[in-house]
């Protein structure tokens, strides 16, 4: 899956802005193995455990460096869950599924 540029949005088909929807932002710095891995992991986790209730945005900091300061991004990749609150940051390539779920405050689907 190719990562396109800013705010390539992938929303699940029947997602609607509501309290259950997780708005997720993935910050990457160019197409590196880590970023690709992170994105793949993220997609997988979302499909498995969030079924339908998510929206992913991918932000490439190399294209938009000013966003790094605005969103307080240090580590890359970083996943930021903006909504629902509280804001959560998850750094790393998201290989630890459990940690990701804990971070997102999501109960595992199984």
């Amino acid at each position: 899956m190719e990562l396109t540029d800013v705010r390539a949005s992938i929303a699940s088909p029947d997602a609607e802005p509501s309290r259950d929807i997780q708005i997720l932002r993935l910050y990457i710095a160019g197409q590196t193995p880590k970023s690709i891995k992170a994105f793949a992991n993220l997609k997988r986790i979302c499909e498995e455990h969030l079924t339908g209730k998510y929206r992913i945005e991918v932000i490439d900091l190399i294209q938009n460096p000013q966003l790094a300061a605005g969103d307080q991004i240090l580590a890359v990749p970083t996943l930021v869950r903006r909504l629902p609150e509280p804001v959560r940051r998850i750094i790393g390539d998201l290989s630890h599924t459990e940690r990701v779920l804990v971070g997102l405050d999501v109960r595992p689907a199984s």
């Binding site: 910050y27 710095a29 880590k34 992170a38 992991n41 900091l61 190399i62 460096p65 000013q66 790094a68 300061a69 307080q72 991004i73 240090l74 580590a75 890359v76 990749p77 970083t78 509280p86 804001v87 959560r88 940051r89 998850i90 750094i91 790393g92 390539d93 998201l94 290989s95 630890h96 940690r99 990701v100 804990v102 971070g103």
Partner: protein, 585 residues
């Protein structure tokens, strides 16, 4: 800027290492140029040591004075807090940000918000920093304090690897960077940053001894450049940071031949007729109440009259008190204060540490540019520091004043019994002229005397003078030095009165004798005359008698002859021819 350049052994090092000036008073001198250009330097120290202040000064001075924009990446304080904290120093951070000379970036790391889920790197940080640098073309960067990352992120090995990468990256970017770090137990920084940043390491220290706090700075390491390894005291006040190099003062000041009056004419005559050398240092020492401040006040008054600017540092009285006290001896300093020729700086010695005092004096002197400085008394600095420290401080101050050609008068209190040639603060060898005020006790009173103990470069009187504080100023009077010793005060007055009386008596005696002589002479003359007359009369009488006798004898002789002649039948005529005539009988 403040402290003059001295050709010391620093500037002669052949360094191809370019340096970026920090603009911090004294620091650039101690490092012979500033921080290494294009390299990261580590500033470490305990909490509240002044690391952030140092770093922000470096940045702001760079932007304002050296034309180098800078980025301040703060891991602790928010931009707003930072701007507020430095506003009191006169740093207008919001203004500089607006002019695109400074970028403030606050990196917030909330541990609670972060979950680590695999491999990552800190490229975000690099991108942020790079973006900030590129946005204004920054040449200077501060990271304060990067150790906060260790608190926020758990994976130390990633962190350390990335830090190593960061410092290389900074070097590649060609920016001069300051990294700040908290002092660790037994290590320079808690997280061992000194491993990565090794071009220059500066340690800031903040000590409290005997309730006085002093700050010290030490250059632990400076690769590629000879540097002083001593501790340099520095201070932070409303003007920012200033470092005071202790040993960078060489003895290279010029010596003027101009002489200026001390304000006391008789004292000038004691000093070879002209007074002090301009640019020299004068010490006036004495016990309490001896009159040291009065000598100082005369000096100030005389200088102000010449139109010269004067600065007076007083440690024991308020300026108003000084002015009032000096009025009682006929010196009015208030007009000079009003005209701006005389400025007082009064502070209790215990108000600051010694270094702060020295720095304040430096700054006041720089700002006011006086030609005369009075410090009254220097010995009160002993209440806040050891004698060796005070001596070192005063030496530096005196050197500084000589370099600027400022004439200085210091007063010093000596304590009692064996008063005299031991000052409590042993600076008598640094000063050029030393006036000693002594007290002379005799017959129930204490009088003051003044000696010129030494005065380099000129002949001076070695006689003590009695030192009087009158309502028209200080007067120096010759003492009475006689067989009974030196007398001053009322004893002197008594003695002088006695002498005058004695002289009077003698004169009268003389008069009397003269008159006697006159009488004698007159008498003598008369007597002589009488005797002579008597003698004359007697002789006259004698003479008369003699003549009579002669006459009568002559008559008798004639008669006798006549008789004889008759008896012989001679002519009665007695013609007296006497010629014998023959034939006639």
């Amino acid at each position: 800027m403040a402290i003059a350049e001295t050709p010391g052994h620093y500037s002669s090092t052949v360094t191809s290492l370019p340096k970026s000036p920090t603009g911090i008073d004294g620091f650039d001198q101690v490092t012979a140029g500033g921080l290494p250009t294009g390299r990261p330097s580590l500033i470490c120290g305990g909490a509240g040591c002044g690391k952030t202040l140092f770093a922000i000064s470096f940045l702001v001075n760079g932007a304002v004075r050296f034309g180098e924009p800078g980025v301040f990446m703060s891991f602790e304080e928010s931009s707003h807090e930072l701007a507020q904290n430095v506003a009191s120093l006169g740093f207008d951070l919001p203004g500089l940000i607006e002019q695109k000379k400074i970028v403030l970036d606050h990196v917030k790391i909330e541990r609670s918000e972060i979950e680590e889920t695999g491999d990552y790197d800190l490229e975000g940080l690099f991108i942020r920093l790079g973006f900030a640098i590129d946005s204004i073309g920054a040449k200077r960067v501060v990271l304060d304090t990067i150790e906060s990352l260790f608190a926020g992120l758990a994976n130390q090995s990633i962190l350390r690897a990335e830090l190593r990468r960061l410092f290389r990256w900074l070097k590649d970017k060609g920016v001069t960077a300051i990294i700040t770090g908290e002092r660790g137990e037994g290590t320079l920084t808690r997280q061992g940053l000194e491993e990565y940043v090794s071009d220059a390491v500066i340690l800031l220290d903040h000590r409290v001894t005997e309730q006085i706090s002093t700050r010290r700075l030490r250059i632990v390491k400076y690769r590629g450049s000879a540097h002083g390894t001593n501790e340099y005291p520095f201070l932070i006040d409303e003007d920012g940071i200033a470092v005071l190099p202790v040993t960078s003062m060489g003895l290279t000041h010029a010596a003027s031949s101009e002489r200026i009056s001390s304000g006391i004419p008789r004292l000038d005559t004691m000093l070879d007729g002209h007074g002090y050398f301009r640019g020299s240092t004068v010490l006036v020492s004495g016990t309490a109440g001896a009159g040291k401040s009065s000598v100082a006040a005369h000096f100030l008054d005389a200088a102000c009259r010449r139109g010269e600017r004067c600065l007076a540092f007083v440690f024991e009285e308020s300026p108003a008190q000084v002015v009032r006290n000096m009025r009682s001896i006929g010196i009015d300093l208030q007009p000079w204060v009003d005209r701006g020729l005389l400025e007082f700086h009064a502070a209790r010695p215990s108000l600051h540490g010694l270094e702060m005092h020295l720095s304040r004096m430096h700054r006041a002197i720089d700002r006011f540019q006086p030609s005369v400085v009075v410090i009254d008394p220097v010995s009160s600095l002993l209440t806040v520091a050891e004698e060796t420290d005070v001596q070192a401080t005063l030496t530096r101050l005196v050197d500084y004043l000589k370099l600027k050609g400022v004439t200085a008068l210091l007063t010093s209190l000596t304590h009692g019994r064996s008063e005299g040639e031991q000052t409590d603060v042993a600076i008598s060898s640094i000063v050029d002229t030393w006036l000693l005020l002594v007290t002379l006790e005799s017959s129930g009173e204490r009088n003051r005397g003044l000696y010129v103990l030494k005065s380099r470069g000129m002949g001076h009187s070695n006689q003590i003078r009695e030192f009087l504080l009158t309502d028209h100023g200080v007067e120096l009077v010759d003492v009475y030095a006689g067989p009974s010793g030196v007398l001053t005060g009322s004893a002197r007055l008594t003695q002088e009165a006695q002498e005058r009386a004695a002289v009077l008596v003698q004169e009268q005696e003389l008069d009397r004798k003269e008159r006697t002589l006159e009488r004698l002479r007159a008498a003598f003359e008369e007597a002589e005359l009488a005797a002579l007359r008597a003698k004359f009369d007697a002789e006259q009488a004698d003479l008369a008698i003699g003549i009579d006798e002669n006459r009568s004898r002559a008559t008798r002789l004639r008669t006798d002859r006549h008789d004889i002649a008759q008896s012989r039948g001679a002519d009665a005529a007695g013609s007296g021819n006497g010629r014998k005539q023959r034939g006639k009988v």
